[in-house]
């Protein structure tokens, strides 16, 4: 063990006393040079001046009850969380029938729970796919009703957080198989397949999501054979899927490219056909490699779904604007945006931290082949 770490303990030095360590730490981190000291004074001064006011505005001085008169009395000197208290059902569930809103709650919790369960690598088995299929069916049943004694609720009335969640989950899940096909096609030896896939990927990546949503909302009805009408939610989900598939294809192609040539050669030496090679050797490894990037795709789709408010679906962002349509509470829009922004922020931060954790953990697998999952 000739590591440098062993040397330090053998010298038997004592750590400096705690107070001295604190002081030297302060000096190193805040007052290392004149310019650093100046920055500390400026930033620290600003924070000291703003922080008490921010705490007062956000928490101590705020009104939490849905009491309009109390909120008016504040005269904007502090936050009126009463707006959120009054409108939280509208913000979270959109225009879903008020009496039935336990259904989207249960459905969303079910999906979130399943996401949570799927997060741990130990849960990555075949059965998980089956579980997801069941959960999605249950989600649609709870939301749409029309069976098992639940009244029918048209997709046009779905809204708020459940809509954001389902657009994200279905958009990403459906774009994975499509992305795999496109990625394999782009690496194919067949010029026609390669050309078609490359054209599709570059075309979609070159235009903003909003144009794809316009296509979904204005052009899809023109493409359908006469009489067949898709409702707006299906069309938008399809649009998001087709858009996300192009990005997913590039993510998966990254994983495919990371595999060494030896894998192909070894598979060929074992006598596997090219389809078998892709399905049994290449894809399973490439997909595990790109799981952290898949989580990032989930994150960006989660944020991108907020664009559907432009094509008149009321997701979390859209239903906040519905709530702000009430002229009585409109002046407390800042509180509304902070609430919804915080909700997005917590979800996104959780996903990005999870993706980083996963990357480290999978990195461990990749460095130690014997610990690779079966």
């Amino acid at each position: 063990m000739g590591a440098p770490g062993g040397e330090r303990s053998s010298r038997g030095e004592r750590p400096p006393p705690a107070r001295a360590a604190l002081l030297s730490g302060l000096r190193r981190h805040l007052f290392a040079s004149p310019s650093s000291a100046l920055a500390t004074l400026l930033v620290g001064g600003g924070l000291l001046a703003l922080l008490p006011r921010a705490v007062h505005w956000l928490f101590t001085g705020a009104v939490y009850r849905a009491d309009y008169d109390a909120c008016r009395a504040l005269a904007y000197s502090a936050a009126c969380w009463g707006f959120v208290a009054e409108k939280h059902r509208l913000i979270l569930f959109g225009r879903y029938p008020y009496a039935e809103q336990w259904r989207p709650l249960v459905a969303t919790l079910l999906v979130l729970l399943t996401l949570f369960v799927s997060a741990h690598p130990r849960a990555w088995r075949r059965g998980l796919l089956l579980l997801w299929a069941l959960v999605l069916i249950a989600f649609l049943l709870f939301m749409g009703g029309g069976a098992a004694g639940l009244s029918r609720v048209e997709p046009a009335e779905w809204g708020g957080f459940p809509l954001t969640v389902i657009l994200t989950v279905v958009g990403v899940a459906a774009s994975i198989p499509l992305g795999i096909v496109l990625a394999l096609g782009r690496r194919s030896r067949l010029p026609l397949a390669r050309g078609a896939c490359t054209l599709y990927i570059e075309l979609v990546r070159g235009v903003p999501l909003i144009t794809v949503l316009f296509v979904a909302s204005f052009v899809f009805p023109l493409l359908m054979p006469g009489g067949l009408k898709l409702d707006v939610l299906t069309r938008i989900t399809l649009g998001i899927t087709l858009f996300q598939a192009a990005y997913m294809a590039e993510v998966i192609r990254g994983g495919l490219q990371a595999l060494p040539r030896g894998q192909f050669e070894a598979a060929a030496a074992l006598g596997l056909s090219s389809w078998q090679t892709q399905a049994k050797v290449i894809l399973p490894q490439a997909l595990v490699l790109v799981i952290p990037s898949l989580v990032n795709s989930l994150l960006s789709t989660f944020m991108d779904t907020s664009l559907v408010t432009v094509v008149s679906l009321y997701d979390l962002t859209g239903s906040l604007r519905l709530a702000l349509g009430d002229p009585r509470w409109r002046n407390f829009f800042l509180e509304g945006y902070l609430f919804v922004g915080a909700l997005y922020f917590v979800c996104c931060l959780a996903m990005s931290r999870y993706s980083q954790w996963l990357e480290r953990r999978l990195g461990r697998w990749i460095r130690r082949p014997e610990a690779r999952p079966a």
Binding site: H29, L30, A32, V207, I210, F333
Partner: protein, 386 residues
């Protein structure tokens, strides 16, 4: 012979067969969609084709650099939209780059507070959807700011209110036109000077300080033109009237919200790119350069920056493209960019297919041009390997 050409027994035969099948599938799908579209268009009595572009648009456009009237054609309306997209994208790119540079360096600061502040900025801005931020900025400008009759005076004669920002601008006069015409002359002269200095340095090894002379040379002809034109210096000052602010250069709240939203959001991404670019340069490079006797500024300018730029520029360009694409969210807050104009046109005449094709063509052209420029840059800065 014909049989082996498409034979299932040989690999190349199989591949040809697959391709034929794929081609057939694509053609079949296209024909199916084409047929449906024709029927649907006929059922809705929409005349397809780009003929509508010559008809008068009829709607108003709130702002823009292109002079536009409602009786102008659709084509001209689209041109105005493209100009608006370019305007907000260019302004956003400049602001986002400066902001990103500042925050990115802040993320690497030795000072704990500066680092924490920069990190908080990046994390918050990147983890909240852009459209939510745009709505918030838009509502903040239109609700929180004072009425136009009592604007905030940010600077002498620069007013901020619910009506937007009004800035003083110089009144355009002959002197400015002369200065503008003479600007290329100065730029060419400055380039020649810098080039000569570089040649001499490469030939003799003697470096010359040319930055200041080159800058002077670049602006000298313009300054001369301005003086010859009578040195115009009249300013168009905004005035506060009983109801609003008039005169000067007006910037609408829509532009302001979109510009602030886009540049702060993209700035957070650029900060991360700058940070990783600077971290990618091993510290040994700095130490070696210092050991050679270069000053701190020279180390940054001659050693660290050129290498960091090689890492930074490709993702930076894709952020610029993202910003340009994200400017299409203008439609949500009513800034008349290309997509917003197309949206209005679709709602008016129902020619969705043509309008969307136009939008896509514009964005794809921008993408292709950027990709070409990027490729040229990459070839120039690529590491020359042995």
């Amino acid at each position: 012979m014909r049989l082996t050409f498409l034979s299932l027994r040989t690999r190349s035969g199989r591949e040809r067969l697959y391709q034929l099948a794929l081609l057939g599938l694509i053609l079949l799908a296209s024909a199916f969609l084409w047929h449906n579209t024709r029927e649907n268009l006929a059922a809705r009595q929409i005349h397809s084709g780009f003929g509508f572009l010559k008809q008068p648009a009829g709607f108003d456009i709130g702002e823009g650099l292109v002079p536009y009237e409602p009786q102008d054609s659709y084509l001209w309306a689209f041109a105005a939209g493209i100009a608006n997209t370019v305007r907000v994208a260019l302004a956003g790119i400049v602001a986002a780059t400066l902001l990103g540079l500042l925050v990115g360096i802040g993320r690497l600061s030795h000072n704990l507070l500066v680092r924490a502040l920069a990190t908080a900025y990046v994390e918050v801005l990147r983890n909240v959807p852009l459209i939510l931020q745009l709505f918030a900025w838009y509502m903040a400008t239109t609700e929180l700011l004072p009425e136009p009759a009592h604007p905030l005076e940010l600077w002498p004669h620069a007013y901020l209110s619910k009506g937007g920002l009004q800035l003083p601008v110089p009144v355009f006069a002959r002197g400015f036109a002369l200065a503008l015409y003479l600007l290329p002359l100065g730029l060419v002269a400055a380039c020649l000077l810098v080039r000569r200095a570089r040649r001499r340095r490469e030939a003799t090894g003697r470096a010359q300080r040319v930055l200041l002379p080159a800058l002077l040379l670049a602006v000298a002809p313009s300054a001369l033109g301005w003086l010859l034109g009578g040195a115009p210096h009249a300013l168009d000052l905004p005035e506060v009237t009983a109801f609003n602010v008039t005169g000067g250069l007006g910037i609408t709240p829509e532009f302001l919200a979109l510009f602030i939203g886009l540049s702060t959001f993209t700035g957070a991404y650029i900060a991360e790119i700058v940070r990783s670019g600077l971290l990618a340069i091993p510290h040994g490079q700095t130490e070696a350069a210092l050991a050679l006797g270069l000053s701190r500024a020279e180390v940054l300018r001659l050693v660290v920056l050129p290498q960091a730029l090689r890492v930074i520029v490709p993702p930076l360009t894709s952020q610029y493209l993202n910003l340009t694409k994200n400017s299409s969210l203008a439609v949500a807050i009513g800034y008349p960019d290309l997509v917003a104009i197309a949206n209005t046109a679709i709602n008016q005449n129902g020619q969705a297919l043509e309008c969307i094709l136009l939008i896509m063509a514009v964005y794809l052209t921008v993408n292709l041009l950027t990709a070409a420029a990027m490729g040229a840059y990459n070839r120039r800065v690529a590491l020359v390997e042995r």
